[in-house]
C-alpha cells in the first residue's frame, strides 16, 4: 500500500505537482495522462529518487526519503523510462549484479524462471546490453525489475513501471499484462503508459493526472468518461467509438 499525503513538488517555475493526496491499495493501477502531465515525476517521488518539497509518502509503513534508500530498495522496484548503459555488460552480468547472486546461482534461476521464459530472455543472456535493440533492452531491464520483486526472491510490496510497453512486441506485451494482473493480487503496481485502449479494456483501477494535478481516480478503468478523453487527452470526437459491449475505444492508434 502506498499513502501519499499533501505532496507538493516543484519541477520548474512553470510546472509543479501540487497538493497530491492518494491512497493506493494492492492491485494494478494505470497512471494515465498526456505528455508532461507529471507521471514520471510522480513515480520518481514515490520511488524516492526525488525528494518531496512538502508532504509525505509512505510505502507500507516505510517513509519514502532519499535518506533511507537502502531500506526502500528492498520494498519497491522501479523501471525507469530511459536506461543508460556505458559499459558492455552482458545481460547475465546485469542480473548477477542487481540480484547479488553468483554466476551459478543465476544459471540455476534462469533455467526455470517464469519471467525469464515469458520475456524470452534466454537467447539474450550472453549478449552485451550496449548491443541490444530497443525492444531487447526493454525486455532485459523489465526482467531485471520484475525479478527484483519476484516474491520468491525478494518480497517487495510495490512495483513502479514507467512506460514498460515501449518497444515490446505484441506477444511480450500480452505476456506482461497477464503477469502483472497475476502479480497485482499480492503487491501494489503502478504502470504509467499511453496505451489508452488497453486501459479502457481492463477492469483495473486507474489514476488520471493532468498538468500536475490529479484529474480523477477510478476503481474501474472502463469507467473513463468520454469528456475526460476529450478534455485531458485532447482527442477529436471522431476518434472515439463505442463497441457493442459498451466499451469506449479510440480508433486509429
Amino acid at each position: 500500500m502506498i499513502k501519499i499525503s499533501n505532496v507538493s513538488y516543484k519541477i520548474s517555475n512553470e510546472f509543479e505537482l501540487k497538493e497530491l493526496n492518494l491512497t493506493i491499495n494492492p492491485g494494478v493501477h494505470h497512471l494515465l495522462g498526456p505528455n508532461g502531465a507529471g507521471k514520471t515525476s510522480l513515480l520518481n517521488l514515490i520511488s524516492g529518487l526525488c525528494a518531496v518539497d512538502k508532504g509525505s509518502i509512505l510505502i507500507k509503513d516505510l517513509e519514502v526519503d532519499p535518506l533511507n534508500l537502502r531500506a526502500l530498495s528492498k520494498v519497491r522496484a522501479y523501471l525507469l523510462q530511459k536506461q543508460t548503459a556505458h559499459f558492455a555488460l552482458t545481460v547475465k552480468a546485469m542480473l548477477t549484479i542487481t540480484l547479488s547472486l553468483t554466476d551459478k546461482e543465476i544459471d540455476k534461476l534462469c533455467e526455470n524462471n517464469i519471467i525469464i521464459k515469458g520475456l524470452d530472455l534466454k537467447p539474450l543472456l550472453n549478449r552485451v546490453i550496449t548491443g541490444l535493440s530497443g525492444g531487447e533492452t526493454q525486455r532485459a531491464h523489465l526482467a531485471r525489475v520484475l525479478l527484483h520483486c519476484a516474491q520468491e526472491i525478494n518480497p517487495a510490496s510495490c512495483l513502479l513501471l514507467d512506460e514498460p510497453f515501449t518497444g515490446l512486441d505484441v506477444a511480450h506485451k500480452l505476456w506482461l499484462n497477464q503477469y502483472l494482473s497475476l502479480l497485482g493480487e499480492c503487491i501494489t503496481i503502478i504502470i504509467s503508459h499511453h496505451e489508452l485502449n488497453l486501459a479502457l479494456n481492463l477492469a483495473q483501477p486507474c489514476i488520471i493526472i493532468n498538468k500536475g494535478r490529479i484529474h480523477s481516480i477510478l476503481s474501474d478503468s472502463r469507467d473513463i468518461e468520454r469528456t475526460t478523453l476529450l478534455d485531458v487527452f485532447n482527442l477529436p470526437v471522431a476518434a472515439l467509438i463505442e463497441t457493442n459491449e459498451g466499451i469506449l475505444q479510440i480508433i486509429g492508434i
Binding site: L49, P66, H86, I97, T98, V128, T130
Partner: protein
C-alpha cells in the same frame, strides 16, 4: 565462485613467472643471471638494482590499473584514465612545485610530503575536471573527457614554461616525473606507498557491490540503495590517491590505467567482486613487462612513458574502433 578463484590463481601464477623472469633474465643488452650460482656482485645487482624496480613496477601497475578502473566506473566513461584526464600530469606538477618549495624553505622532501603533494594535485585535478564538466553539461561523457584534455593541455604548457626556465639539474628531475622512471626509488618509499595503496585497495574491494550498481547508471544505482553522490565523492578521492601513489613512485605513465582494465573486463567480465583482484594482479604483471622492456631492450634505459605510449597508442586506437562499433565497452 570456484571458477573465479581459479582465474585469480592463474593471474597470480603469471605474475610470479614474469617477476622471476624479469629478475634474472637480462634480454638483449643487459646480463642474465643464473639464480643458482650468484656471485657477490650479481646479488648486489639483483637486490639493490633490479628488485626495487620490480617491486615499484608491481605497485605502480596495481595502483594505475585500479585507479583507471575506478575513474572509468565513477565517471561512467570507459575512456577515462588518470593520464588522459590530466590527473597524473597535475600531480606530477605538484610534486615538482613541492620540491621547489621545500628546497626553497630548506626542508627535507620526505616521502610523506611527496605523496601529500601528489595527492593534492590529483584531487585538485579531479575537482577542476568535475566543475568544468558540470558547467559544460551534466557530467556527460564528452564533457568530462574534453575538460580533461583542456586541463592536460594547460598543464603541459605550464610544465613547458617551468622547463624553459629551469637549470640543467632541475631539468633531469622534471624529466623523471614527465616521462616516468623507476630510478631512485628506495625501499622506504616503497613500504610507505604500498601501505597507502593497500588501504585504498581494501576500501575499493569493500565497496565493490556498490561500484557494480554504478554500471547501470546513477538513477538505477540510487534505486538499488546506493548513495551515489557520496560514493562517487569518496571513491574519487581513493582513485586520485591511487593515481598519486603511482605518480609519486614513477612519474607519469600513460595508458596502463586504460588498457589493462579494458582487457581484463573483456576477458573476465564486469563484476567487481571478482575482477578487482585480477585487475590488480594483471596491472602489476603488465608493468613488470614494460619495465623489463625499458631496462633491457637498448643499451640505455628507455623512459617508461615512451614504452607505454609506443605500445599504448595503437592499442588505444583499437579500443576506440571497438567502442564506436558497439556503442560502449
Amino acid at each position: 565462485m570456484l571458477v573465479n578463484n581459479r582465474n585469480i590463481y592463474i593471474a597470480l601464477f603469471w605474475l610470479i613467472l614474469v617477476t622471476t623472469f624479469a629478475t634474472y633474465y637480462g634480454g638483449v643488452s643487459s646480463s642474465s643471471i643464473n639464480p643458482f650460482a650468484l656471485t657477490e656482485i650479481q646479488s648486489v645487482i639483483i637486490y639493490e638494482l633490479r628488485l626495487p624496480k620490480i617491486f615499484t613496477a608491481i605497485l605502480v601497475g596495481a595502483c594505475l590499473t585500479l585507479s583507471g578502473h575506478l575513474f572509468q566506473i565513477l565517471l561512467s566513461n570507459p575512456l577515462a584514465e588518470p593520464g588522459l584526464l590530466g590527473v597524473s600530469s597535475f600531480s606530477s606538477l605538484f610534486i615538482i612545485l613541492g620540491a621547489a618549495l621545500f628546497s626553497f624553505l630548506n626542508i627535507r622532501y620526505d616521502v610523506f610530503f611527496l605523496i601529500l603533494s601528489a595527492s593534492l594535485g590529483a584531487f585538485l585535478a579531479v575537482t577542476i575536471i568535475f566543475q568544468l564538466a558540470k558547467i559544460l553539461g551534466q557530467y556527460s561523457s564528452s564533457a568530462l573527457i574534453l575538460s580533461g584534455i583542456s586541463l592536460t593541455t594547460f598543464i603541459s604548457a605550464l610544465t613547458s614554461w617551468l622547463i624553459f626556465y629551469s637549470e640543467n639539474d632541475q631539468l633531469r628531475t622534471f624529466n623523471l616525473w614527465l616521462l616516468g622512471s623507476f630510478e631512485h626509488v628506495t625501499y622506504a618509499q616503497l613500504l610507505f606507498i604500498s601501505l597507502v595503496a593497500l588501504i585504498c585497495i581494501v576500501i575499493a574491494m569493500y565497496k565493490s557491490n556498490d561500484l557494480n550498481l554504478l554500471y547501470l547508471g546513477d538513477q538505477n544505482a540510487n534505486l538499488y540503495g546506493v548513495k551515489v553522490n557520496r560514493l562517487r565523492k569518496y571513491m574519487l578521492i581513493i582513485a586520485s590517491a591511487l593515481a598519486a601513489c603511482a605518480v609519486a613512485l614513477g612519474g607519469v605513465i600513460a595508458f596502463i590505467g586504460l588498457l589493462v582494465p579494458h582487457a581484463t573486463r573483456m576477458k573476465f567480465g564486469h563484476d567487481n567482486r571478482f575482477i578487482l583482484p585480477i585487475l590488480i594482479i594483471n596491472g602489476a604483471t603488465c608493468m613488470i613487462i614494460i619495465e623489463w622492456i625499458s631496462r633491457t631492450s637498448m643499451y640505455l634505459q628507455l623512459p617508461l612513458g615512451l614504452v607505454t605510449a609506443t605500445i599504448g597508442g595503437p592499442f588505444f586506437l583499437l579500443i576506440l574502433f571497438k567502442h564506436f562499433k558497439n556503442q560502449g565497452l
